[in-house]
Amino acid sequence: MSVAATRGSRMEKWYRRLLALYPKDHRREHAEEMVGVLLAADGAAQVRAPKPVAWALRFGQHTADSADLVGGALRIRGRIALNRLKRAHWLSWTVRDQRWSDALAVVSVVAPLLLLVAALTEFRIPQAVASSITGHPHWELTATLGLADLPMAAGAPGVIILVFLRLRRLAGLGALATAIGQVAAGAVPAFAGYADPAVAFTVLLSGTAAVALLLSPGPDRGLALLTRSGTALVGAAALILGGFSVGGDVWFGSAPTRFDDFGGRVAGVPADLLIAVVLVGVAAACLRAPVSRRVLVLLAIPVIPYAFLWQEKLAVDLFGPPGGGSAIISSSIPLLYLPPLLLASLVLFGTWFARRRAGERDRQVASATA
């Protein structure tokens, strides 16, 4: 056997080994022709040159072809995995009531966005941006990323990416994992006597996002339902949440208040009062349509714990700080989590009761016509 033939056989073996990385179906279909193409390309690349130069050129070609084969296998396997995920029929329960289904679809767009905004503000990114614009030195990025921060740091952008990739169920599971991760990493120490309303907010928001993503037709339907004005409302609400912790003291350079996370005054009016007015306005606009009303109820679930924190801040803004009191309410776990869970239970019970009544009505109509 000639030197070239021996080399060809050695290379063929090597290429066949790399082709084992490809999915079985692809191998059955293309392995033989791929080996043929690789060896033909190798033969065509032979050049007349001094031995070390020719060897170096062959080695370069061989290495590049091998790396390209591995890359091709990864691309094909990645595409197959993505297609499988998109076509998967697992977790295919959806809410039957059309209006609740639509409301959940809208929330499946809004809640992941709010989660991202909450994560950004948690790591003080908007605050740092605001400070860099205004030149106010008050805010800096969160310098360290603790274990308790990981669920939000990874979960919020992860859920948004999965929503963007139209992987609804996976995004729902991601949101669920974010909620569980936060409970495990952040809220457990709260059982020792301190519960953070901000943690409760993000836990319940992740949970609401998970339910909306898993039980509704998903963001495609939600975006179709969100009219231009609805999108504007969602955008306004997201900006407000961002502005929540940026605060007027950063934008307007007033002295930091006792509540460092929240703003001071805007044109002499407490910033939080303005935010409250806008939020109430948004909520009132939502009350007009049945689906919007349901969206409002669903979004109220995570907002309730924040309301505890906010109402105290609003009271301080309006009436001044209480003498010697703590700046932030040291709320209890039941106080923060029971009202939202009660609201969620009411929604569940209400929809179950309505369905039962509708079923009875249908049966009565059917028996009357029979």
Partner: protein, 105 residues
């Protein structure tokens, strides 16, 4: 449309070709600038087949090795023509703004 996809469809627009033929033709069309390797080529062909832009044609055995030909489908031709239209319009705008002959906008 990514450049390798565009070049593969362009290579096949002239007629059915086998894998190595496509690789050589793409290098020729791009004046040696784009050099497809087997892994990239077959990943692209796999995707184009799944999208219905390319389909398998005849097979033959040459020197004991399988050689399969691929041809562009009607859908692939339409897609390529649409991309050519887009590129031509963009090029015309760019040429016009650069003050080159043949620009339209």
């Amino acid at each position: 449309m990514q450049e390798p996809t565009f070049l593969i469809l362009t290579a096949l627009a002239a007629g059915a070709q086998h894998g190595y033929g496509i690789m050589s033709d793409v290098a020729r069309i791009s004046d040696g600038r784009v050099r497809l390797r087997a892994g990239t080529l077959y990943a692209a062909l796999d995707r184009l087949k799944a999208d219905g832009l390319v389909t398998g044609d005849k097979e033959e055995i040459v020197d004991g090795r399988l050689r399969r030909y691929y041809r562009i489908t009607d859908e692939g031709t339409a897609e390529l023509a649409a991309e050519v239209g887009r590129l031509r319009a963009n090029a015309a705008v760019a040429a016009s703004r650069l003050g080159l002959a043949g620009g339209t906008a």
